[in-house]
């Protein structure tokens, strides 16, 4: 892989080394964090105060403004994580694997939030905390896929080997996610019909859609901010033996140098 000094490379490769990405990530975090906060406030305001009361489900339905964006983000984050894993396998880069490692806990959190809020929606609406709805069940399996990824990473001591093994697992999971979703939908429609389904949400008023969109964008900005923050601490932990990490603690020195053995 190119070193950061060869600036002839495209902007993509210039930031592909952890040493040069670290300061960039630090600059981006406040922007995404602020965007997440603003979008979330706007979305919650529209969702909880502006959107009309649903004549069928009352006020309890408002939980979908958290439930649905969380479910979407859980799925989307898995695909982004799997893409970073594919890049790290194909180009043997460390930073892509670190990004995947940083995304996994947030994706798992969204899957869990989606299941939790689904329970809070289910109780007042259908009298049960858990229904074997197709999306809830697929999200549950998605949560297990995330936990498997995190557990596999944690159980392999060598960091590069953990990167590559978890990457293969993420790709196998990514191929399976549409199959799992399809099979669970098949199973659900055969057994329960569409009477209890969270996809058959109340007819969407315009404001409800706006709130949903705002919350989804907020979740997306939040994920990026948290992933950048997490990847910075992963970089420090894993690059600890390279010379440039020490230079961070001594301000005023020249930029990151590529000391040490790890140059790819």
């Amino acid at each position: 892989m190119s070193t950061p000094s060869s600036s002839a490379g495209s902007i993509w490769f210039r930031y592909a080394s952890p040493a040069s990405f670290y300061p960039l990530a630090g600059q981006l975090i406040p922007w995404f964090g602020a965007a997440a906060a603003i979008l979330a406030l706007a979305g919650l305001y529209v969702g909880f105060f502006v959107a009309p009361t649903d004549w069928q489900q009352g006020e309890a339905y408002r939980i979908i403004f958290i439930h649905v964006p969380a479910a979407w983000m859980a799925m989307f984050t898995y695909l982004v994580m799997a893409s970073w894993c594919a890049i790290s396998l194909a180009f043997n880069t460390r930073l892509s694997a670190m990004m995947a490692q940083a995304l996994a806990p947030t994706g798992a959190m969204f899957a869990f939030v989606s299941l939790w809020t689904g329970a809070f929606w289910g109780r007042p609406t259908w009298g049960a905390y858990w229904v074997w709805d197709a999306r809830l069940t697929s999200t549950l399996i998605l949560l297990f896929l995330y936990l498997g990824f995190i557990a596999l990473r944690a159980s392999i001591d060598d960091p590069r080997r953990a990167d590559r093994a978890a990457a293969v697992l993420a790709l196998v999971g990514a191929i399976n996610v549409p199959i799992i979703y399809f099979s669970v939908r098949w199973w659900n429609t055969l057994h329960q019909g569409s009477s209890i389904s969270m996809t058959a949400a109340p007819k969407m008023a315009h404001t409800m859609l706006t709130a949903m969109l705002l919350m989804t964008l907020a979740a997306w900005a939040y994920t990026i901010a948290v992933a950048l923050y997490r990847v910075r601490s992963i970089i420090v932990e894993r690059e600890a033996l390279s010379g440039w990490v020490g230079a961070l603690e001594r301000p005023g020195e020249a930029g990151p140098t590529m000391a040490g053995a790890a140059t790819r």
Binding site: D158, P159, R160, L241, A261, A262, T263, R264
Partner: protein, 215 residues
């Protein structure tokens, strides 16, 4: 690339290997020409096994390249895998199978055709003709090591990478190992051997001390 002719042998350039977070060595160069062997020495943990595994294609080096007969070798090249014979710390044999069954299977995996007479001859050469029908798990440590010598005796491969091949061998076993190494070198083969012991080989080895390289 300068205009010198391709080096016919094993060459390593600027190799760097790490184990987890720890750098084992950096900028390592070595050359082993044909019909010579190199002894790898160094204290425990200096990276001898990792170096052998990196050359064989098991471990991924962090930097550097490995050249075989003048060309950069790719670990997934079938030609490389047919040229290189690696014996590591693990025994490489199945406990539940007889010694002879183990050797027949490994010979087939090594790409050798079915030749029972040759199998029996090499088992006799390493002194295992009476233990051939015993399950591997019932052999003593020295006898287990001799089975690995039998694999070397059958092999036609030009490059040997051996990690502590003399462990548990008695004086007779070490002499057999030395003779096998001599015959291998006489055929034009080369070897890289990590060892703590002096091997009774007629050819004097090149020596690489990994402990000195690090400092």
């Amino acid at each position: 690339m300068s205009g010198t002719p391709d080096f016919d042998g094993l060459q390593v350039r600027a190799l760097a290997c790490a184990a987890g977070y720890r750098t084992l060595f950096d900028g390592l160069d070595l050359r082993v020409p044909r019909a010579r062997w190199m002894m790898l020495v160094g204290p425990n943990g200096s990276g001898k096994s990792t170096l052998l595994r990196a050359i064989a294609g098991l471990a991924r080096p962090v930097a550097g390249e490995i050249l075989w007969r003048g060309a950069v070798r790719r670990p997934d090249s079938a030609q490389w895998r047919a040229d290189c014979l690696y014996q590591g710390h693990a025994s490489g044999w199945k406990d539940n199978l007889e010694a002879r069954e183990n050797l027949v299977l490994q010979a087939a995996l090594d790409g050798l055709g079915h030749d029972p007479a040759r199998i029996d001859a090499q088992l006799a050469r390493v002194g295992l003709e009476r233990q051939a029908q015993l399950p591997f798990v019932r052999l003593s440590a020295g006898q287990r090591r001799r089975l690995s010598l039998a694999r070397l005796a059958l092999s036609m491969r030009p490059l040997w990478l051996l990690d502590e091949p003399g462990t548990a061998l008695d004086a007779a076993g070490l002499r057999t190992l030395g003779n096998l190494l001599d015959e291998h070198l006489a055929r034009g083969g080369l070897a890289l051997v990590a060892t703590h012991q002096q091997l009774p080989c007629a050819q004097p080895p090149l020596v690489l001390d990994l402990g000195a390289v690090r400092s």
